[in-house]
Symmetry: C2
Subunit: 458 residues, 2 copies
């Protein structure tokens, strides 16, 4: 039997899609100051949509960085209160030339909407706003009390949100957090994510001579910053693929054989995975499967590096500078500050002669996170997903990082349930990001079912 809310969500689906297109057209890139005005526009757009949905008293709260959008409806006395989290900022769009259609001109192809941020996280975060609209329109209220909290810095480390969570307890009284960010791990079946990896980042600059030198006149007598950088990066792993930073694995939790066995039963197809990525082989830490490498083992990755002449043709210089941006993904019980310190020590110890090194630690680390087994938010998630999908949900971990879950735990002792309808293969941080449109429909129904079930069960 279709509820009035479900019917409303189906009836207005095309309008919701048009609104999502409008939302994605705003290039709210948070990591590059050049886009700051658009981040502001996106925040205003979100507040408008919340206020259009119902009596949420939504407002844009300015911070020292990008703004936070907050709205609330607390009209269901005795019912649980949840914080709905999402983010309206997006990754940078480059490399631009690899997009089939422009990043900020969303386009539907083959049942998918393509555009930067459509899956991470504009599509998923629009879902609860539209579900609120449906409940207000059909029942005049929500089944539970909801505080909406949307940030504009998820892609740049959630610095302001972290401070907001620390300082604004007055706005954050709740039973738990229901996150519209996150992702189902694959398209074939629904899944519930119970853990995410943490993050620690740093940037290093290697400097040789005080200027770029002619590689003929000086070549052979002076250190080349690009060579020194290459040696430093190579030193981060041993020849087999283990991280070679002293103490890096010291605090890594040993995962039980039972849990590791459960991953095997997920039927993860390594061959198909390899083929989908187009790599000649899957590589990683020896002794672990691909899923284990993604979920229960930490990493060090260079996200970008550069030095010397990168333009067309050639330029015979000895680069005076070369840099790399590095992030580590952490698992319980690694600490971001401790890992930054260990990596920095390693870099200084392995610096080749003839160059100097400067290291800048990113301020926005994140602890790894794991929600307690049996949490009510997980049980309700399973109920809601069973109403939308035939298959029972899988319990999985996530390789990525959602720092906000760690901030909520630390400052407010709130756990976070990830309830996102993006899928892990939707190229969030790459060209041609997309969202499957049927996930949008499923998400709308599932969020409505979640709130309804929580109002009954909670």
């Amino acid at each position: 039997m279709m509820t009035p809310v479900s019917a409303y969500l189906q009836a207005h689906r095309e309008r919701f899609l048009a609104e999502l297109v409008e939302f994605v057209r705003i290039p709210s890139v948070s990591t590059d100051p050049a886009y700051a005005e658009h981040v502001q526009r996106a925040a205003a757009w979100v507040a408008d949509k919340l206020n259009a949905a119902g009596p949420l008293n939504a407002r844009v709260i300015q911070t020292d960085g990008h703004p936070i959008v907050y709205g609330e409806w607390l009209g269901r006395a005795g019912a649980p209160t949840i914080i709905v989290y999402g983010h309206y900022d997006v990754q940078p769009p480059d490399p631009l030339d690899l997009w089939t259609t422009p990043a900020f001109e969303p386009t539907v192809r083959d049942g998918r909407l393509y555009g930067r941020g459509v899956s991470d996280d504009k599509g998923p975060m629009l879902i609860p706003i539209k579900v609120a609209e449906a409940f207000f329109a059909t029942t005049g209220g929500l089944p539970v009390n909801v505080r909406f909290l949307f940030e504009g810095e998820e892609e740049s480390g959630s610095v302001q949100l972290d401070r907001f969570i620390r300082e604004r307890g007055d706005l954050l009284g709740a039973d738990f957090v229901l996150s519209a960010d996150g992702a189902m791990w694959r398209i074939d079946e629904p899944s519930i994510t119970v853990a995410s990896r943490g993050l620690a980042g740093l940037e290093l600059i290697v400097r040789g001579a005080n200027k770029d030198l002619h590689s003929g006149r000086y070549g052979g007598a002076v250190a080349n910053a690009a060579h020194a950088l290459a040696r430093l990066i190579s030193s981060l792993h041993d020849d087999e693929g283990r991280v070679a930073v002293a103490g890096f694995y010291d605090d890594v939790e040993v995962v039980s054989d039972e849990e590791r066995a459960s991953y095997t039963q997920l039927g993860f197809d390594e061959v198909a995975y390899q083929q989908s990525l187009g790599v000649p082989a899957l590589v990683g830490e020896p002794g672990y499967t691909t899923l284990e490498r993604l979920w229960i083992r930490p990493t060090i990755e260079v996200n970008g590096l550069g030095g010397g002449y990168q333009g067309p043709g050639g330029k015979t210089v000895i680069p005076s500078e070369a840099f790399a941006k590095i992030t580590c993904r952490l698992v319980a019980n690694q600490d971001p500050d401790d890992i930054q310190a260990k990596v920095e020590t390693h870099l200084h110890m392995h610096l080749p002669p003839g160059v100097t090194l400067s290291v800048t630690r990113d301020s926005h680390g994140a602890l790894p996170y794991r929600i307690p087994a049996g949490h009510v938010g997980l049980k309700v998630a399973e109920i809601a997903l069973r109403q939308v999908y035939v298959q029972p949900p899988l319990y999985v971990r996530m390789g990525g990082t959602i720092p906000v879950s760690e901030s909520f735990k630390r400052y407010r002792n709130l756990d976070t349930v990830f309830f996102s309808f993006s899928t892990a293969d939707e190229d969030y941080h790459a060209p041609n990001e997309f969202l499957r449109l049927h996930r949008l429909d499923e998400g709308l129904q599932a969020w409505a079912a979640y709130w309804q079930a929580l109002g009954t069960e909670g």
Copy 2:
């Protein structure tokens, strides 16, 4: 006693400087197709100046690349004939933000003219044009027969000039080549360069997955192209700084103990050199002094590398691609094709798992070059330099590469005498390139003395 030619050169010195400024304003960057129109403008400018100097019948000769400028005066029957060589193209100006004054707005400061190409090679190549003007104006002819040959591709490998030298024997009958390109090795005393290193280049691209991947979702399970690139670059040298490519040193000529001892007597100040470059230490191949590393030993240098996200802030991707531009400096008797093949083989043999590699060999290699001891052109150079400088000239080698000398030898059996008045510290391939103005004056007098002496001695 001042000759009329000397007096003319002194009297018109300010105009010559103004012309050089005009010349440097033309951004004739040969390696980047975006500047092609300016390279054409520079060629036309050179031909105009030759024709203004005297009856040289100068013309711009189009090629499949950038044009060649040729002019001649063969009116001195019985006297030697020389080819005067130089190049009117320049290196790219970036990084632009490190220039004190803009690269193509030449500016005089402290007796130096700053601007891209002012020392390499626009200032030095303008000298013989102005010396010809002085001889024609004061004596109606030149003391020797001269063919002027200026190219626009020296910074991109002299491909068209190589072909021109091979095919246009009709324009290249001569006793030897007198090159306005090259450099004196330091400012304290005059020097004559008797050898230059060769060049072999290649570009490599490492590819991992078929797109940039989210470093959380995929990190740990898939090869990172930036890591693989770093390992490849690191593999090019051993831990002590020797090139680790198999067979790289096989054909390197063993330089005599006598010649190595003569370098020691040059009084090269390694401490001052290190300080001027601002490096914490000089590094290079073990067992050799800095001068030996620069003059008689080959190198491999990364000129530029890049991969992943390089913009402001961070972007947590696993780069799908990373590249490096590499050049080797060669000494006798290494062969550029052989070295390219050995480096390429090395790269394929050292490729880490999980990625693919593509290598593109630069087409414009150059053999190392050495002029025979006792060559008449060297003797005349010493005579000319002794008229301008108190100190006797030093005989030195050069770390850089002038491929044209190798082409002249191969196709026309012509040796090349380097007679340039730029100095090795003038930052040709770096920001803030400059030319010392007193070198311009000395060069004008020395070129006039050279032609006069060759007309008498030759």
